[in-house]
């Protein structure tokens, strides 16, 4: 007891340290699942074959990295995959104003039940998985059972169904359309929330000055939403190379593979399907570097222009 009083600063007696001990198991979990995998980056330096010890594999140094640019076929692949990645990301960025417009014009609907119904029903697709989106695509567009083909055939417009899903044409546009179908209503919610923050007196003052509906939208609503838009735009620029793979994976087939393979899907196809563990790891390391750089650039430009960081 006496020693306790004397050494009051003993680590174990500090509340903060005991709290740290209590939460220690969770910190370990973070280490195991987020930090420990980084060790796997060494595989990029070897010609790793699954099942062998790393020490028995050939050391390549930066060979896997240079291969992307030195090997003709690998380079062709990388160029194609980068085209798909940037192409689809840029379509997304070019149309990033859509959720804002959705929110703005939705607010112009005066009937509250109608507005609520639209808002509720259009957000549902956001909460289904990509596998299910694919199943929906199948239900709507497959040759024999698809709604669209059945409708067109029943109306006598078509004699035979069109195979929309296996087409290699307009892949980027189709992927964008599915992404929009799934995400538009949900993305608009952020703006719907921001709309409530706009000072109502501005509208009243504008009405007194004789401003019409479109003028109010253009001069009050849109400027009020731009800060939100700007943050989201910067985030989408930061995610330029992070398309994710799930959507493209479920929609990919032999016909559209050339145009649908984005960087994340390429890494998966090379590594998990093609068992090129080392090469795939090298590609994903480069991707991480680009992605972190973009994040910093986006954050810097946010700091410079708005005086605030985005994360």
């Amino acid at each position: 007891m006496k020693s306790n009083v004397k050494k009051k600063t003993r680590l174990i007696d500090q509340g903060g340290f005991r709290l740290w001990l209590l939460s220690f198991p969770f910190l370990i979990l973070i280490f195991l699942f987020s930090y420990l995998p980084l060790y796997g980056w060494v595989y990029a330096l070897f010609d790793y074959k699954p099942g062998r010890a790393l020490t028995d594999c050939k050391f390549l140094g930066l060979g896997n990295f240079t291969r992307m640019f030195a090997d003709k076929y690998a380079l062709e692949d990388i160029v194609r995959v980068m085209k798909n990645t940037l192409g689809m990301s840029l379509i997304g960025i070019a149309t990033s104003g859509l959720p804002m417009m959705f929110a703005v014009f939705l607010a112009e609907i005066k009937s509250k039940p109608y507005r609520k119904a639209v808002q509720t029903l259009t957000t549902i697709p956001n909460f289904i998985s990509w596998v299910l989106v694919y199943s929906v695509a199948y239900a709507m567009f497959s040759v024999n059972d698809g709604f669209v083909n059945r409708l067109l055939m029943n109306l006598g417009i078509l004699d035979e169904g069109i195979n929309f899903l296996a087409s290699g044409e307009h892949v980027w546009l189709n992927m964008w359309l599915w992404g929009t179908w799934k995400g538009l209503g949900w993305s608009a919610i952020m703006y719907i929330a921001a709309l409530t923050g706009i000072d109502q007196e501005q509208y009243e003052a504008a009405a007194v000055d004789g401003a019409g509906r479109m003028q109010k939208i253009w001069h009050i609503t849109i400027p009020g939403l731009l800060p939100t838009y700007f943050v989201l735009l910067l985030l989408s620029i930061a995610n330029l190379v992070n398309n994710g793979m799930e959507q493209y994976f479920v929609f990919q087939n032999a016909m559209n593979k050339e145009y649908i393979e984005v960087l994340d899907l390429y890494v998966y196809n090379q590594g998990m399907v093609g068992i090129n563990y080392s090469y795939s790891t090298a590609v994903s390391i480069l991707k991480s570097i680009v992605s972190v750089t973009l994040l910093f650039v986006a954050n810097m430009s946010s700091k410079l222009t708005r005086g605030e960081s985005i994360f």
């Binding site: 500090q14 903060g16 709290l19 740290w20 209590l22 939460s23 969770f26 910190l27 979990l29 973070i30 699942f33 987020s34 420990l36 995998p37 980084l38 060790y39 796997g40 014009f105 939705l106 112009e108 609907i109 119904a117 639209v118 509720t120 029903l121 549902i124 909460f127 289904i128 998985s129 990509w130 596998v131 299910l132 199943s135 929906v136 239900a139 709507m140 024999n144 059972d145 709604f147 055939m153 029943n154 179908w181 949900w186 952020m190 929330a193 019409g212 509906r213 799930e246 479920v250 890494v267 998966y268 998990m272 563990y277 795939s280 790891t281 390391i285 991480s288 972190v292 994040l295 994360f311």
Partner: protein, 302 residues
């Protein structure tokens, strides 16, 4: 003046008609596929395969839903999906709330460092292959726990939770501390009851995420007893032949010859899709405000 007023109302009318129509159409586009899937699963299967079901269900029956349960692996997959949703969500709630609470305390040992240690993991990941090898080394391939344990700490939910807890008046906890209550008692008796709204939001997002998760099964599981409904649906969508095979076996062993209720590859795909989406459709309208809360809180920086 009057002429201008009239012109405006005419313009307004056109604007309103166009506006209501565009939103109406987009809403239909969002809902119609689910309706179409549903009526095809409850209509007579022979009519479905002849392409006669478009907007109205015909020959209504619910056999498909009873029949798919007899398919190999489906009951097991449903069990795995429900199991991971329940346990995974419970894990996320436990991990993010306790660690979030701990990190909200100023006296936490080297708080700044540890908070950064958690948050920074949102901005990098090792890549699929290193992650896969790591999971393999941890013995989590072909293990149900791969769905649950990695989900326990979610940095994003943790930030939300921590921010919420920081706004709870500290006087409430202080009086309990005076009475000699330790951290665990204060956390369970005071903080948890006071943070129910954010816990509900976290739970609903975690549950939807668990239910919808697909790629983790794809990466980690080869043992079919660990497959989820999402993964099985993906397999059914892509392996029409093997699906037809297993259906053939089912109909051979059966004695029924009623064509309208025999499973076809299409009816299986559509029925499994409905089984996968129904929980979401049923839950969503009731929990919509939690979802919306989530995005609002999420837009406030942590």
């Amino acid at each position: 003046m009057k002429a201008i007023g009239k012109k405006r109302t005419a313009q307004d009318l056109v604007f309103n008609i166009v506006n209501y129509t565009v939103y109406g159409l987009f809403t239909i586009v969002c809902v119609l596929p689910f309706y179409y899937l549903f009526i095809n699963t409850i209509s007579a299967n022979d009519l479905v395969s002849r392409g006669q079901i478009l907007l109205v269900p015909k020959g209504i029956h619910f056999n498909n839903y009873a029949e798919i349960l007899k398919m190999r692996g489906l009951g097991q997959a449903a069990l795995v999906s429900v199991g991971r949703t329940v346990l995974g969500t419970a894990g996320t709630l436990l991990g993010t709330s306790f660690l979030g609470y701990a990190l909200s305390k100023q006296e936490y040992w080297h708080r700044k460092i540890w908070y950064r240690y958690v948050v920074i993991t949102m901005y990098f990941n090792a890549g699929i292959i290193p992650w896969f090898i790591n999971m393999k080394n941890l013995g989590l391939t072909n293990s149900f726990w791969a769905y649950v344990i990695p989900a326990i700490v979610s940095p994003f939910s943790l930030i939300l939770y921590k921010t919420y807890v920081e706004n709870i008046p500290s006087s409430l906890e202080e009086s309990a501390a005076m009475d000699g209550a330790g951290y665990l008692i204060r956390f369970t008796r005071i903080i948890i009851p006071l943070s129910k709204p954010i816990l509900a939001t976290t739970a609903i997002f975690a549950a939807v995420g668990q239910w919808n998760s697909f790629t983790d099964t794809l990466f980690l599981m080869t043992d079919s007893t660990k497959f989820t409904l999402q993964y099985l649906l993906y397999e059914y969508m892509n392996e029409a032949n093997s699906l037809a095979d297993s259906l053939m076996k089912m109909s051979e062993s059966g004695v029924r010859v009623d064509m309208s209720s025999i499973l076809t590859a299409t009816s299986v795909k559509m029925t499994v899709s409905m089984v996968v989406v129904l929980p979401i459709l049923c839950v969503y309208p009731f929990f919509q405000r939690f979802f919306v809360n989530g995005i609002m809180i999420g837009s406030v920086k942590g």
